[in-house]
Symmetry: C2
Subunit: 302 residues, 2 copies
Amino acid sequence: MPELKSRQVSQLPPLQAIRVFEAVARHLSFTKAAGELGMTQAAASYQIKLLEERVGAPLFLRRPRQIVLTEAGQRMAPAVSEAFALLGGAYAAARSGADGVLCVSTLLTFASNWLARHLGSFQVAHPSLAVRLDTSNRVVDFTREDIDIAIRSGGGNWPGVEVHKLFNADFTPMLSPKLAASIGGVKEPADLLRLPILDPGDIWWRDWFIAAGLPVEELAKRPGSSMGAQAYEANAAIAGQGVAIVTAALFNAELADGRLIQPFDLVGDDGHAYWLVYPQARRNVPKIRAFREWILAEIAGQ
Amino acid sequence: MPELKSRQVSQLPPLQAIRVFEAVARHLSFTKAAGELGMTQAAASYQIKLLEERVGAPLFLRRPRQIVLTEAGQRMAPAVSEAFALLGGAYAAARSGADGVLCVSTLLTFASNWLARHLGSFQVAHPSLAVRLDTSNRVVDFTREDIDIAIRSGGGNWPGVEVHKLFNADFTPMLSPKLAASIGGVKEPADLLRLPILDPGDIWWRDWFIAAGLPVEELAKRPGSSMGAQAYEANAAIAGQGVAIVTAALFNAELADGRLIQPFDLVGDDGHAYWLVYPQARRNVPKIRAFREWILAEIAGQ
DNA sequence: TTCAGGCATAAGCCCTCCTTATGGGCCGTG
DNA sequence: CACGGCCCATAAGGAGGGCTTATGCCTGAA
């Protein structure tokens, strides 16, 4: 498409030359402008000559100790400076503006039970960073959605992304102290069989029952409804509606204040974990680095 | 000066990438944008990737059949488009604006006696071209003054410039018919000795006297004052104050309407001529070509 | 299921643009 | 008046940015 090309070329000036022109017009000196641009005087001279040929008129008059703008140069200079100011502003805004909002895609339960309690310290440490949470169970594709960083649960082997393990997604039964008291306390795994089980179809229950030496057939008999997120199950458990099987690490607060109790030390582990995930290519982006360092320190100090 | 360079680089985006970004943001398509810019889709992809790395954030989200701007991209796009519009406008204005004014450096006498009478037809032929006359006897340096084209008198061998001979700068005595009548008419060269001679120190008088067989010592005796331009001498001659030696071609009008007479066919010629002169590099600039073609035709048809 | 449209990626090459080196013009100074 | 310094122009040479071609992948439509 040569005609398109030539059309375009004639519409827009050679940009590198224009950049040099802008600097030269400001300094009224090839040498100084070249210095500012980090190149040699010869390069500036070359670019200006190029531009003058394209424009079809001299842009500077070469006087003994200095140069001055020609009429054509004077017409161009202000608009060019303004355009570069715009460009520079937009670029800077995109750079820092992009740094100003951190989009975190996170699992619902992690958001409500962990992030909600810890995010405050991140905000304090990085007051200029606004965090936008995007809660969903989808595995986000960084190339397709406007997400900076994600919390995922799984095996940890995803291609093209950098991962950091936060904690294991082990699981154990939990219930409210009131419910436990209603049968005189839960002392051994078999006691659970006398209580309602929340989401008995969950594979975790099966795994844990096997590990605890309980008959898995019990589970199949029970009416089940999955609520889709640990947080919901846990709320039901707190309300005394049954026993939930959840990741202990996410319910430290509930355990601490007695809303939930963990009757057994036995935890199941299917090899899954919670991971911090982000595109490898962006590992050095300031806001991503900041979040990574913060969350890893927070997890470690917990 | 590495620190200056890095400073600059971080202030301004890579311009070629920005140009591509602008087109892609308009089309929301790498392929179409590449087409507009006269390059391949791969090149556009490359540039966008480059820019995204510089900005530190994705600018487009890659969706199956199309792409969309990210938040960062949306922030950048309008300002970038505006900046390019400015740049394009300034560039176009400089290109055509430079074509709108033609600066002619000319000798005083040529301006008042030739250009003044002919320039009208050029204006009619090129109504969009404004002519600015710069009258002086200096030999202008095109690299030092804002001049497009010049009329010079001389030998015609100047380096770096394109020259076209307009007419020979031959010279011959002229006087007013009244002054001639005051001595009963000027029939032979020697009659001139009975009249005042304007600027007798002029080398032209000497040359012409020799050619006419008159004693040059006569000239030395006379009180002289040079007025610095043929036009002034001619005006003095028209006023009947004496005989002037001038270039006949410049006074066709005065000869035609009888304000001056040329008593002898004998003309002196020192090899000088009137030349049209302009920088070689600009020979194809439209306004220069237009003026060249017009003046050569005008001279030829005279 | 296959096809077509669109983007990503790899390899390779060309040409732009920059550097170094040098020269010229003009000014200020001793 | 000559010399040195400042600044720009120009030539030659080299490095790397950026383009092209070729290919693969993904997805939505037929």
